[in-house]
């Protein structure tokens, strides 16, 4: 028995506004393969009476926080946030998966969820001679944990650096001082740790006088833009910056890339923040590239199952992987390259291609990598 009080949750998340239309569950990618049913959870909370039992509700950890539910709700209810709230209840009771516990502790201690040492964070860039951010530098390039530490994702960071330098952008990095943004910490329900991190990071950026920030990951972009306390910083995802540079002709491609490319909209760029066109504009500017759209594009993009802490959680139905479905969709669309703009999407889709033994047919590449290739 893991009883919690339902009433405060129904009030906190305005669950009475729900008319039980089911649009959330109908579009939920995890409902396609697990018991997760946002509508039903809301109704159970509303009708819970004495208490809502979390026991056995492991499907609450399946949620990728893709926000399909919240973005489509006609009554402005937020099932995604409600699920995060329920995760918080689990966390308070100490009931978290060991992987999650490890990731959270590592974030607390080492400033990243990957159990990597803090003083190795800036190592990926040591031969790039990057400027350390100081007051007056135009952009802070916030690299992020995964692109800093993961070898595959580091290639994205390096590509992006090349592009920024080519365009003459004035930017600096924090190196080993960079701390995890806390996005996944919040999605995992550890609100207390998140607030602490947000406060600390905000102090750091204020102290450094950061006015403009660009990020590798849509997750970091989203949390700085939408979840952090108002800090006066203008935050952009790198695809927005590149799209601007391409339009102003400050970035031009002299190389060619004769490939058929299809773009996978990351949930945190697309569904969460409505950014669909800028990434496409960058790809469209690459000479020789043919762009094809999958059926599931833009607001219907199929979540890769990387977000919401799922990088550390297999979920209740690991035998079905949405990333593999996605790879098949890309192949069906006739693509040779599956482009994306998120390190989580990159890693999960890359892994899926390997699982399907499709490496010879489909490459998963980040937009930064493609653009850098075309320079």
């Amino acid at each position: 028995m893991l009883q919690i009080e339902a009433h405060p949750i129904t009030l906190q998340y305005d669950l009475f506004d729900c008319i039980q239309c089911g649009k959330c569950t109908g579009g939920c990618p995890m409902a396609m393969k697990t018991r997760l049913n946002p509508r039903s959870i809301i109704l159970r909370l509303l009708t819970a009476g004495d208490g809502f039992d979390l026991e056995g509700r492991e499907e609450l950890w399946d949620c990728t926080t893709c926000s399909t539910c919240s973005s489509r709700c006609p009554k402005k209810v937020n099932p995604m946030e409600t699920i995060i709230g329920l995760r918080g209840a689990f966390v308070e009771k100490g009931r978290v998966h060991p992987n999650v516990k490890t990731a959270l502790e590592s974030t607390f201690r080492q400033g990243n969820p990957l159990t990597m040492p803090r003083d190795q964070r800036g190592a990926w860039a040591k031969d790039l001679g990057l400027k350390e951010y100081a007051e007056g530098t135009e952009f802070l390039y916030y690299v992020g944990c995964t692109p800093s530490y993961d070898p595959r994702a580091q290639k994205v960071a390096r590509s992006l650096v090349t592009l920024l330098q080519k365009a003459g952008i004035d930017f600096g990095v924090l190196g080993n001082q960079e701390n995890c943004c806390g996005s996944e910490v919040r999605r995992l329900g550890e609100q207390g740790l998140f607030e602490m991190m947000a406060e600390e990071n905000t102090e750091t950026y204020k102290g450094l006088g950061v006015k403009k920030m660009l990020t590798t990951s849509p997750h970091c972009f989203n949390v700085y833009r939408n979840d952090y306390p108002k800090n006066g910083m203008a935050v952009q995802h790198y695809t927005q910056v590149l799209a601007g540079l391409v339009e102003e002709k400050r970035l031009e491609f002299s190389g060619k890339l004769e490939k058929t490319i299809t773009y996978h909209d990351p949930c945190y760029l697309g569904k969460h923040n409505g950014i669909f066109d800028e990434p496409r504009a960058v790809l469209a500017a690459i000479p020789g590239a043919t762009l094809v759209e999958m059926d599931r594009s833009r607001q219907k993009s199929l979540c890769c199952e990387g977000g919401g802490g799922r990088m550390w959680l297999e979920g209740t139905n690991p035998s079905v992987r949405l990333a593999q479905m996605r790879v098949k969709e890309a192949l069906e669309a006739g693509a040779q390259v599956l482009a994306t703009a998120c390190p989580f999407c990159l890693l999960t889709l890359d892994e899926a291609v390997k699982h399907l033994n499709a490496e010879d047919r489909l490459q998963v590449l980040d937009i930064a990598e493609l653009a850098a290739q075309a320079l």
Partner: protein, 454 residues
């Protein structure tokens, strides 16, 4: 009290006969009167106002019903072109469009309307004060044998209820008439007789309104068995400032903490031969749930429904508001109400949970459907009108002929033709007025031509 009309027909032109003084009849009368024609407005009960005067607040604006109604009632009561016959009935109609003849029976009030000024001393003094069930209060309050149905009555004239008054039923009332003794205006007259008035009319508008479903026909819901199971109309009277509890939602002095509303009682029910939707109950319940939430802090309010029909202007937004206030909507049509200790239990399936549920209640409110009036059949016969399969007056065509009946010159307005809310009723009544005005303008032309020819 009614002067000669000042425009249009000057009292000698065509008139309209409006049967029924609820909002439909009042609105139609006012429009016709304002356009300059004479109206004979006949209302069976002692005052005009109808069902709308029984409501507390109206959806979705939460206007106080009597506050928006009484100015119209007052207008109708004093309009120079409107002859108001209250406590009266139309008993015979002959003739044809343009030339109807109607006989109105003015029932004896046993009180002289010219002398009575509505002070109420007779009612205070009556031997049966507080002993007679008040129809206006849906049986929840009590009055004397002499009464006005509600304080804003038009006309503000008392009436002796011939079925309650001891003198009228048994021939003697103690040693003296307490009412007569109390009346300073000498208005009480037990010798008053019914009077018949013959009127001519170019057109007739039937606006006789509706009754509500008697939920004892669904015995498993416990109405009439459990005192804390009431109808939505009874709830309305409890919630009204002019009602038996001055607006406190209580049956026994304590405030109910758990309220359950049940939609579709006597509607959408083929087993009872009531297949139609009563149209207003979804919104009426939303409004009542809101009132309960407003007046009873901390109340837990549940509404059991099948579909929420919040279709009109501002309705969906009002439904959003009521849910936002914390009223819990559960989909499922309850099967039965049972007693458990001193509480009631409503048994239903929550069809969205997919499970049977039991919800405790201190007060169960049944959203009873709208029905034709019990005497619709006899009114129909008198007017030569057809009724539809549900007993409502049959319109000429469901899309393009909704105010015309099967008899030329006789029009329909309001809920007598089918369930409607107030805005729909007002529009319908005005539409009937339009048809009436066309008829009367044509008749006037005919009359003028005939007059000129003489």
């Amino acid at each position: 009290m009614n002067e000669q009309p000042t425009h249009g027909s000057n009292g000698r032109g065509p008139a309209a006969l409006v049967i029924g003084g609820g909002i439909a009849g009042i609105q139609a009368s006012l429009d016709i009167a304002e356009a300059g024609f004479r109206v004979h407005l006949v209302e069976r009960s002692p005052s005009i106002g109808g069902r709308m005067s029984q409501l507390d607040k109206t959806f979705p604006t939460l206007d106080c019903s009597s506050c928006i109604l009484t100015p119209k009632m007052v207008d109708a009561g004093r309009h120079p072109n409107i002859d108001l016959y209250t406590y009266s009935e139309v008993v015979q109609v002959t003739g044809e469009a343009g030339d109807f003849h109607a006989r109105i029976r003015v029932k004896p009030r046993y009180i002289d309307p010219e002398k009575c000024h509505g002070c109420g001393l007779c009612a205070e003094a009556c031997r049966l004060a507080g002993r007679i069930s008040s129809d206006f209060n849906a049986g929840m309050g009590k009055r004397a044998a002499v009464y006005v149905p509600f304080p804003q009555a038009v006309p503000l004239v008392y009436t002796v209820d011939p079925e309650a008054c001891v003198y009228l039923t048994r021939g003697v009332c103690g040693k003296t008439f307490k009412c007569k003794d109390a009346c300073t205006a000498g208005a009480i007259d037990f010798d008053q007789k019914e009077v018949f008035v013959d009127v001519d009319a170019a057109t007739i508008i039937n606006a006789t309104g509706f009754d509500v479903f008697d939920p004892s026909l669904r015995p498993e819901l416990g109405y009439g068995v459990y005192p804390h199971v009431i109808t939505s109309l009874e709830f309305e009277r409890l919630a009204s400032a002019s009602g038996p509890t001055a607006g406190k939602i209580t049956l026994d002095g304590t405030l109910p903490k758990k309220l359950v509303f049940i939609q579709c009682v006597g509607s959408r029910d083929r087993s009872l031969n009531l297949p139609y939707c009563s149209r207003v109950c979804c919104m009426a319940v939303a409004k009542q749930a809101h009132l309960a939430h407003d007046r009873i802090p901390g109340a837990e309010i549940t509404v059991f429904y099948i579909d929420i029909r919040a279709f009109g202007k501002g309705f969906e937004e009002f439904y959003d508001r009521v849910r936002h206030e914390g009223v819990l909507y559960r989909r499922g049509n309850p099967s039965e109400v049972l007693r458990r200790g001193d509480r009631l239990v409503v048994r239903a399936e929550d069809t969205l949970l997919g499970e049977p549920v039991e919800v405790e209640a201190d007060l169960v409110v049944l959203a009873v459907g709208i029905r034709p009036r019990a005497d619709a059949q006899s009114v129909a016969e008198m007017l030569g009108l057809a009724l539809d399969e549900n007993g409502f007056f049959q319109e000429a065509h469901p899309k393009v002929g909704i105010v015309e009946s099967n008899r030329p010159g006789v029009l329909l307005a309001g809920c007598c033709q089918g369930p409607k809310d107030i805005p729909d009723t007002v529009a319908h009544a005005k539409a009937a007025a339009s048809a009436a005005l066309i008829q009367m303008a044509q008749t006037q032309k005919v009359m003028a031509t005939a007059h000129a020819a003489n």
